[in-house]
């Protein structure tokens, strides 16, 4: 085991040797090592978070055909530092009648629920926190803590708009959790394991995005809804209920909600990469060739992973800044009447076909899985078209046709 092959264990062993040489008991040395490793990982995540603030503002600016921050530092790179300093020195106003303890716990819980996800995120084959054998459900569990933080924030602010926003946001998040959990079953079936490392390594031959593109699509939609980003951001609808559940939060507390959301989005981009695009690996067997042996170095793998996560995050931002907001009843109807049945159909299809086709040669398997997804997608679109046609034929035609010059007829004007 060299430093390049297995950096964390190498450094860990060296430090353990050092500490036991200083007559520390092994258990204490292990705990100390854990603390150091965890702090490094969390600091890395937070630094990435600060960088994401810059990325978000530049990207939204480009989507809106403007420049974005470019005054502070080259290309505005120091802007996030200025933002953080601003947030820390702003006055912290607690509204009258707010429930102080819950009011203060909520932003911390929201940030913690996102940080917890980094414990199982595999940056490389040997750079990760832990490899839980129930990794996928752990992701859902961390999301559940986030839901709780939102209810706490909304209720403790003593503000009916905050409460309304929190209710809507939580209904949204829990509704879209169902297709997400059902879709998480698909990499489980395809890789035969729930551990995140196992799923990444099972994709070294073929990405799961190709084996099941519909699962990827449903996962992206549910992930965007879980994050509470546009087009599902009814809780933060600035024109409707003005910042929703975090209306009454100022300064760094609001900062944690905001930064937590960005980091959550990036982490979900990372999970998209892991579950469907091969994570830090997925080179279709290329890394086994001698010429591409450098693809196995952990630092290269970490770079590959961060790139894929950034691409996933960019897709999430792309959707956010291009699509208008969806109304709450449309959102929930879309979930319960379309996404959940579709997710169940894709699950059943994957389970049956995986069992039936597993013995066939590789390319036939891939073709079968991909083809079945295309067929399901086609049938779904046909059903939607028929439904749309029926809806359109039911709507009565408009009562008053416009005058040929474009104005309304004389009797209508001035009423």
């Amino acid at each position: 085991m060299t430093f390049w092959n297995n950096p964390i264990n190498f450094i860990g062993n060296w430090l353990t040797g050092l500490l036991t040489g200083w007559h520390l008991p092994v258990a204490l040395a292990t705990i100390l090592l854990y603390i150091i490793g965890i702090t490094v990982l969390i600091v890395f995540a937070m630094t990435l978070d600060i960088g994401l603030v810059w990325v978000e503002r530049k990207v939204v600016a480009r989507f809106q055909d403007r420049l974005g921050p470019n005054r502070i530092g080259p290309f505005g790179l120091i802007q996030p530092v200025a933002d953080i300093i601003k947030m820390v020195i702003k006055e912290d106003i607690t509204p009258a009648g707010a429930d102080k303890i819950i009011y203060n716990i909520a932003p911390v819980l929201a940030a913690t629920s996102v940080i917890l996800l980094w414990a199982i995120l595999p940056l490389a084959s040997t750079i990760y926190g832990v490899d839980l054998n129930v990794g996928l459900l752990y992701i859902v569990a961390a999301g559940a803590l986030g839901t709780l933080a939102i209810i706490m924030a909304g209720w403790s602010s003593n503000n009916k708009y905050a409460l309304l926003g929190a209710f809507r946001m939580v209904s949204n998040m829990i509704s879209y959790e169902i297709p997400m959990v059902i879709i998480l079953l698909i990499p489980t079936i395809l890789a035969n394991t729930m551990s995140v490392q196992g799923i990444t390594q099972a994709q070294s031959g073929m990405w799961f995005a190709i084996l099941s593109p519909l699962a990827l699509l449903i996962f992206v939609i549910s992930a965007i809804a879980e994050l509470g980003r546009s087009p599902f951001d009814l809780n933060e609808a600035e024109s409707e209920i003005v910042a929703g559940f975090h209306i009454e939060y100022t300064g760094m507390k609001f900062g944690w909600f905001y930064a937590g959301e960005l980091l959550h989005a990036f982490t979900f981009g990372g999970f998209m990469a892991i579950l469907f695009f091969g994570g830090y690996g997925g080179f279709f067997g290329l890394e086994k060739l001698a010429a591409f042996g450098w693809l196995n170095i952990p630092f290269v793998q970490a770079l590959v992973f961060i790139t894929k996560a950034m691409i996933g995050y960019w897709v999430i931002m792309w959707v956010k800044y291009s699509v208008p907001r969806i109304r709450i009843d449309h959102m929930l109807a879309f979930n319960w009447k379309f996404l959940v049945p579709l997710a169940l159909v894709v699950l059943v299809n994957t389970a049956v076909l995986n069992k039936v086709l597993i013995d066939l040669p590789g390319w036939l398997y891939v073709l079968g899985m991909f083809g079945s997804n295309i067929v399901i997608g086609f049938i779904t679109v046909e059903i939607l078209r028929a439904h749309g046609r029926k809806q359109r034929s039911l709507t009565p035609p408009s009562p008053q046709p416009l005058h040929p010059s474009g104005h309304m007829s004389q009797g209508e004007r001035g009423v």
Partner: protein, 170 residues
């Protein structure tokens, strides 16, 4: 006193203490949040017992779904979130005596089980507990019938909830 025992005692204190707070605080929403703390303590207990799947499922289902349902129910039905009225009953000593008797009966019962003081055998290395659980749930000679019956039970719950909700609307 091994480290595991210390962690167990702390977690037990968390579960029992939070449980006590659930029934004594006046503010209903605080009670719901103490319930969340108690459920989280139970998840920690599952983790200590190496039941990974149950620990995460506890958080996902109990905290993520049931606690949220409780909080919704509390917030949607109560105008005032504070419990008014007396917290304690006038004749406290009779129920307290009863509780104490039941507790001592349970302790005697548990201690009389042979082998309860022995440490449990370690799980065989490499056993994937989730897969073993799955195999048990779907094997015809194991628990497949309760597995399917569980789905019928959930269907019954859903139908019941829908019926109650539509009955109220009329």
């Amino acid at each position: 006193m091994t480290a595991e025992q210390i962690i167990f005692i702390l977690t037990g204190a968390l579960v029992l203490g939070s449980g006590l707070m659930v029934v004594t605080v006046r503010n209903l929403l605080h009670a719901a949040l103490w319930l969340v703390a108690s459920l989280f303590g139970v998840a920690i207990l599952y983790a200590i017992l190496q039941a990974n799947f149950l620990a995460v499922v506890q958080v996902v289902v109990y905290i993520g779904a049931i606690a949220v349902l409780f909080i919704f129910a509390v917030m949607l039905t109560r105008r005032e979130l504070m419990e008014k009225g007396r917290q304690t009953r006038p004749n406290r000593w009779l129920p307290a005596l009863l509780g104490l008797l039941i507790l001592s009966g349970l302790v005697v019962l548990i201690l009389s089980v042979p082998g309860v003081e022995n440490t449990a055998a370690a799980l065989p290395a490499g056993l994937d507990t989730v897969r073993a659980l799955g195999t048990a749930l779907v094997s015809p000679d194991a628990y497949v019938v309760p597995f399917e019956v569980a789905s019928v039970l959930m269907l019954a719950a859903l139908v019941g909830a829908v019926y109650v909700a539509t009955a109220e609307k009329k």
